[in-house]
Symmetry: C2
């Protein structure tokens, strides 16, 4: 408790403290605590080009009590502690730059309670979004947030994740009702009750959502559920340029069409999707769409959208209503990452994301597109266009230092461009290690305020040190 972890990432680890903590945890938890190189390696950041920094040991927690015990031991000895769900975050969020103990929550995957009348459910942090939706299948309810990976719901909350449904259903910010979290002192906080609204004090739920394990370790959470719509219709609409696709999107949202999904794929990404998924779309900027509602409601939405798209030169929409057809279409969209990596054998995909006000999106995408060309990179673009959020995926030969440096330039320019357009350096991937360098520019004095909160709630800097804030 009294031994703050230095935030100097190059700082020396206290080898003796780590050893002591490992001994205590091994004795207390037996097989639940592992220190083999293989398991430690699996718990470092493994998703992108950011170098892996494994922890010194991994505790497979089975209860909030386990987490409390581990946090107390680590706190006493000033040893870092990093929460881990499925390890699918993209900015080095689970790396252990100062070593320490990883708390793997994947075995805490219980569905605690489904409240059908209240359209909510409580799950343990390690439950994945797909497991939850499988469980809910017979209830007529579903949980809409869908980041690319089958992430754990605790991890999704910690990263403030979203995905393709956010334009209609919101992100984890809007869909987490409360969380149970173990704080740096080992105390458990239940951030709020289960009522839909409250004005009773500070919004601790939304403080923990998006804090990436730096303020507390989420062990349980309650999320909102939705009725499965009576009718779902998916479709594909192609445009001559990105601006027309964006203009159509803006017009649809202004008109109040409750689009459920509206995803932009640029011409290169369409070429890649065709090759990977054996499809034959034109190599043009394309919107993948989905509408949810009643029979009549969806008919009305789709007709209205088709008419709007035509005003902006959009193609006739290819519709898919049967579940298998919709699944094929969305599989092509969700495979965008793997398809892109397969497109350039030997290359590493380096996903980055930014988000701007939707009015600036076309401009931001176009400028980024020009950047890609100017820098001589191969980098398809995919966007959650209804939210102004998009991803660029440079495909990089990591053994070519010049290409790596050009990729880094692209990522930097994109983050700075988004911030200059009143947007953010990350719409849904989180800060982790990768976006730390843009926080001061994006938040100004606000970053100091974040850091003051961190110091107040984790004075020893043991919770995921080196991420999100400056200690």
């Amino acid at each position: 408790m009294n031994k703050p972890v230095t935030s100097d990432v190059a700082g020396k680890r206290d080898v003796q403290a780590v050893k002591t903590v490992c001994d205590v945890l091994a004795q207390r938890f037996g097989e639940q605590f592992q220190t083999s190189e293989a398991i430690r390696g699996q718990h470092a950041h493994t998703m992108t080009y950011i170098a892996a920094q494994p922890p010194d040991g991994v505790l497979f927690a089975q209860s909030t009590g386990d987490v409390q015990e581990a946090v107390r031991v680590c706190s006493e000895h000033g040893v870092p502690i990093i929460a881990f769900g499925t390890g699918t975050s993209l900015e080095g969020n689970v790396n252990a730059p100062l070593g320490g103990i990883c708390i793997d929550l994947s075995q805490m995957d219980r569905i605690v309670q489904v409240n059908r009348d209240d359209l909510d459910c409580t799950i343990q942090a390690g439950c994945t979004r797909e497991a939850l939706n499988d469980y809910l299948r017979d209830t007529g309810l579903f949980f809409p947030i869908d980041p690319g990976a089958n992430a754990s719901l605790g991890g999704m909350a910690a990263t403030r994740a979203s995905g393709t449904n956010a334009v209609r259903y919101g992100t984890m910010r809007e869909n987490v009702i409360n969380v149970m979290a173990v704080m740096a002192d080992g105390e458990v906080v239940h951030t709020t009750q289960r009522a839909k609204k409250t004005s009773a004090g500070y919004d601790l739920t939304r403080l923990l959502v998006g804090s990436e394990g730096t303020l507390g370790i989420i062990t349980e959470l309650t999320v909102r559920l939705y009725g499965i719509p009576e009718k779902i219709m998916a479709g594909v609409c192609q445009f001559e340029d990105v601006d027309s696709a964006c203009r159509t999107t803006i017009a649809a949202i202004q008109a109040g069409i409750p689009v459920a999904r509206i995803e932009l794929l640029d011409a290169l990404q369409m070429e890649i999707v065709n090759a990977y998924s054996k499809l034959d779309y034109a190599h043009k900027p394309t919107l993948f769409l989905e509408f949810h509602g009643s029979q009549n409601g969806v008919d009305e939405q789709t007709e209205f959208f088709q008419a709007l798209a035509e005003e902006y030169g959009g193609s006739e929409i290819k519709w898919a209503e049967r579940q298998e057809d919709r699944n094929r279409l969305w599989k092509a969209r969700h495979d965008a990452f793997h398809a892109a990596v397969a497109w350039r054998p030997g290359a590493k995909g380096v996903p980055t994301d930014a988000c701007v006000p939707i009015s600036r999106l076309a401009e931001c995408v176009e400028e980024t597109r020009r950047d890609v060309e100017e820098l001589g990179l191969i980098a398809p673009i995919v966007g959650h266009v209804g939210d102004g959020n998009f991803h660029v995926l440079p495909l990089v030969m990591m053994d070519d230092p010049d290409e790596v440096s050009r990729m880094e330039k692209l990522v930097k320019r994109l983050a700075e461009r988004a911030i200059a357009m009143d947007g953010t350096c990350t719409g849904e991937h989180g800060v982790g290690q990768g976006k730390m360098k843009y926080m001061a520019r994006e938040h100004g004095h606000g970053w100091e305020v974040m850091s003051a909160i961190k110091r107040a709630l984790d004075p020893g800097n043991i919770l995921n040190p080196g991420k999100v804030v400056r200690f």
Copy 2:
């Protein structure tokens, strides 16, 4: 900065410090700074039975810079500073129990920018919700959040206000995109950019929303706007009991009907509404409804709802489509407070609110109804039933100490009942002074966390001391 304000509400004021601050502000701000008894009185809590505690002086701020200057002077001398919008909060939120300086933001009422493509706008904190909607009239857009009073948008953000539209459009929590706030050290924080989504760090926006001026003074904010629906249909449906009205509501929400407003009035409130607004509804639990959407969409919603209501014994719905008819209906609903106070001449209305999971609402309302009878009080009930949030309005002869004490019992039992039902002691009025005593019970260790944040961001306890948290 170095002179913390004691949180002992009975504590002594530092008379000399207050005098110094008043002298400095008078010299700097001239007529903008007022200390007359009349003006100070207008800036104490004036809405309910909580005793008025006026500030020592009132600064009519005209810019964020004015607020910064005043905060710096107060901070230097350890004098409390209380932000004030329209003074319509209900729990003593703007009272000055330790004296100090009130910052009246009502002259900062400018509409800074409307971004039609992004469906948002930036306003100064003193702009009222009605002024904003008047301004927006020709744009086809509107701002939906409607607490009873014509409150300032800064005040609504600070209290995390909502109203009758929250079931469809959310509360200030969901509808504030960012705020500009002056922190206790006089620094300005802009909580986030204007992008719809972000994963870049702690959610300072939602930390300030609902903090009731205890963490920072909101001087400007960006809020979400919505397209005015093509069709709006209002209606009134009466039931034999509260449970049937609640069951109908739950079924409608589960079925995904996007009800815009669904308000419960109990039998007594209907009797009062009839008398005040010269209407002739049955004295039965009643739902006031509104549906928004396209022509077909609203027809579908209303037909579906009527069928559902009939399953639970609801009456045939009386519809109102023309704007003047809808206005008459909603005026009757919005007049509920004044109608109730007129119902018992000489009585003071003491509004209180609570919020529970919707599955517990009928039970909570019924138990409260029984409490009212058992305690021999007159207290109509009105509820935002789609959110599980409801208001009880005891009409109390304040010169009858026994009746006052029975009213206090009612309020206490309601708060404790709501908390026991996994709900909250306030859904939309805020904590202020009135709900402080329930915070520990509702939040447990979470209240300590809130207080730690307060101490970190306002170490001198100058911002609205005595509210929300324990210092």
